[in-house]
Symmetry: C2
Subunit: 475 residues, 2 copies
């Protein structure tokens, strides 16, 4: 593709994206295709001859869009938001256009140094501990961040796992509310699912019980296990429960165990002073911490930030230097080589998109975005609370509200089935998209606000639609 | 950013990228900055107020570009190429613009189904085994691909590692030429570096010795170890050596051990019939196979393809289904949820860029690109061979040529130091960028051709520059 062709098609793609966001609200949120529809519509064999980019754009409309679930739709309330924004898209486009690969400082110093600087900006923006300064790195996801933290934690136990493999019973501490990526990390690292110890939670708040954690740690150590890491969560996936990090941190300190704090969704809220409490305990206790600008901070996937209070055990665990990667800058020790801070070797210039976002919005703009989401969630929760046909969980400090119809007269299992059926009907309608969870065995609907396109009228329309659908007699 | 602002700034960014590629040859290939220069030039604190995108573009010129090592420069010959191209950039831009997250089929069916289809297209384009059809997935890197393969291989040994953790001595088989990501994977999975067994190579071809592999497997099993996986490489990083996959596969079959074939760099060459030999043994023996369109196939990082002959052990190793991810499509078993095929949970719509590349170039265009790189490498090797002051390795089947000055009169260690000093001077000049390796203890220069912008005149200029610099008297 010549530069002239790139200019021409590039404008078409930019316009297509702008048009897409302008008309997105007219499309069904959840894709209506059936398994195999998209695959069947794509040619079974690759083309022998090349063609103009017009064909890609035409098939994007004809084949791809019907198969897309529109995460940027103003009525997308499922999972957590996966924010994007104009400056993020353009920052990422610059990264693709530069086409550099920043595995080593030497292979593009700006890729490494902007990442360090922007991670430090996030320390300022979120009010994170000073020890995190210079110790931040962008990962693809919170899953990878917790995996890297776990490998560092294993290294810090002083065993020889990196050299000899796992040869002791290591244990990892989570609650029933912790993200499944922690169990996945236990499997990947050779620790094993059975050695993931599930700490009790308070049945009301769903927050981890530090006393039970303490008891488990004591019991396991007495039984000869080597506890590796505790994962506390600020803003769980299910209900945005908040574990008591200061108290958990005290327990970790007492047992000499690594504390990872997973604030994948909620951590970025700390950009607002009124949410700074999400950082409680980090400065005193956190060995590692992660939060995702790609969820609620206007930066498109993938962009997770991971910080470590001490990077040394991570690098001991992950660094291997073959001859073909040796270079003067690495040998000097004066630079960061981010390849040793992650699972893969190669890496994109992801700092560009976060840099673009922070400059475009400024701290003020980021705060306004977080506040808008939290305010809409508060409004929704108040509307639900005012409707006697529904019940809502009191706890909704961020953008997620959990609730359900009361289903007067139905047994608990019947009520759960009715709630799930309601959700399926709503999602199938294409009018909105929401997901569910279970608390104390009972099904709750989850409605997560926080997409940049979502305004009060969309939340209001969603709530009206839910009430209407719940009241409808079903066959 | 409003749609109108996005259109305006989007055009500016597209033009900036087109301009960048038009003027790239005038910039020094290797960044000339010193450690800290870029970081110091970026403000120490994030902005309180937002600003227009003009500031980003201005600082891109002023701060970022001087700190960039230009991987797309026609005189970039280091490592392996990290191709990008217009259609790849635009396909990736579409992915950013759509902003979907394809962890599950249900969260965007097109993201999953286009990936499956495009991976099948690659099976056709490269002439890969029929068993790979429907079993391909895009990973971020070959490192992650081999890690996933290793986890599947551990699962297939029939132990209970996913549940109970690593509780036997598992062994992994590589050669001294295997990529360092295999040892990294052994550390990550809890197998340990010390259980990575290094199989002898032929001192001439540097290819793995199947007889020694057989002996090691027998010895380890007799000593009570559980061999997990053998990694054969087609096109090693150091010199593009090619392991004898058919013979290695026979040994693996005899011992019931998983065979992963890492063709990260060279595998895509099979798009040309004359390179189809790189697939020898795959159909009969490979349990998993990976190659990187992001190296030599015009698709920007990150885009590694991983195929498995049988996906079941991978999914057993990696699948965990919490309540908040349950959905009808997953429960039906009719769809692929790619989250179980990778380390992270979330995933970008990466298939769009590969789809765009294949449609724009067609099979013909992809073949022309591979042939251009291989032809230039052949030409370079012939020029070096004709110069009595240099020696060149005979083996250069792809785009990489390894060579060195003979340095008449210098002892081997002095010659190595002179070769490294030559490389440092060349790289510091900004005229070209190349890296080095060691073979039999001796330093060789590596010159990898294959960037889309590289023409014969650039390779010729590089060779002239190397000869001139090698002949220059140094202090």
């Amino acid at each position: 593709m010549t530069p002239e062709e790139f200019r021409r098609y590039g404008r078409q793609v930019v316009d297509w994206i702008a048009d897409y966001h302008e008309r997105i609200a007219s499309m069904p949120v959840l894709s209506q295709v059936k398994p195999g529809d998209v695959q069947d519509a794509l040619p079974a064999r690759p083309p022998e001859e090349g063609e103009g980019f017009e064909g890609v754009l035409a098939d994007l409309e004809r084949i791809v869009l019907p198969g897309v679930t529109h995460w940027q739709h103003p009525s997308f309330f499922a999972y957590f938001p996966s924010n994007t924004s104009g400056p993020a898209i353009l920052g990422d486009l610059l990264s693709s256009g530069l086409g550099v690969q920043g595995m080593l400082w030497a292979t593009s110093p700006a890729c490494t140094e902007m990442e360090t600087r922007v991670a430090d900006w996030m320390v300022d923006l979120l009010g994170l501990p000073a020890a995190f300064r210079g110790n931040g790195v962008i990962q693809d996801s919170a899953s990878s961040a917790c995996l890297v933290a776990l490998l560092a934690a294993v290294q810090r136990t002083g065993g020889s796992a990196a050299r000899d493999g796992i040869d002791r019973r290591h244990t990892l501490y989570v609650s029933s509310q912790t993200h499944s990526s922690l169990e996945k990390a236990a499997r990947i690292t050779g620790i094993g699912s059975a050695n993931v110890r599930v700490v009790d939670v308070d049945p009301g708040t769903l927050a981890m019980d530090p006393a039970h954690l303490d008891a488990l740690l004591t019991e396991d150590a007495a039984a000869g296990a080597v506890p590796v890491m505790v994962c506390a969560t600020v803003g769980t996936t299910s209900t945005t429960a908040v574990d008591p990090v200061p108290a958990i941190g005290e327990v970790c300190r007492g047992h000499g165990v690594w504390l990872h704090v997973d604030a994948a969704y909620a951590g970025v809220a700390a950009v607002c002073p009124e949410f700074r409490w999400v950082n409680d305990g980090l400065a005193e206790h956190a060995d590692s911490y992660s939060t995702n600008p790609h969820k609620w901070l206007l930066t498109n996937f993938d962009c997770t930030l991971l910080w470590l209070a001490d990077r040394a055990p991570m690098i001991e665990a992950l660094s291997i230097l073959p001859e073909y990667l040796r270079n003067q800058a690495t040998t000097s020790g004066d630079v960061i080589d981010y390849r040793d801070w992650q699972i893969p070797l190669g890496r994109r210039f992801r700092a560009l998109k976060l840099w673009s976002v922070i400059r475009w919005y400024g701290a003020e703009g980021l705060r306004a975005h977080i506040r808008a989401g939290a305010r809409l969630a508060d409004a929704l929760a108040s509307w639900i609370a005012a409707d006697p046909a529904f019940e809502v969980r009191d706890h909704h400090p961020f953008g997620l509200v959990c609730f359900r119809p009361r289903w007067a007269g139905l047994a608990p299992d019947e009520a759960d089935a009715a709630t799930l059926a309601l959700m399926e009907r709503l999602n199938a309608s294409g009018d909105l998209y929401l997901t569910h969870t279970r608390v104390g065995g009972r099904v709750l609907l989850r409605l997560a606000v926080g997409g940049p396109a979502t305004e009060e009228r969309h939340v209001r329309a969603a709530w009206d639609r839910i009430r209407e659908e719940a009241a409808r007699p079903t066959a």
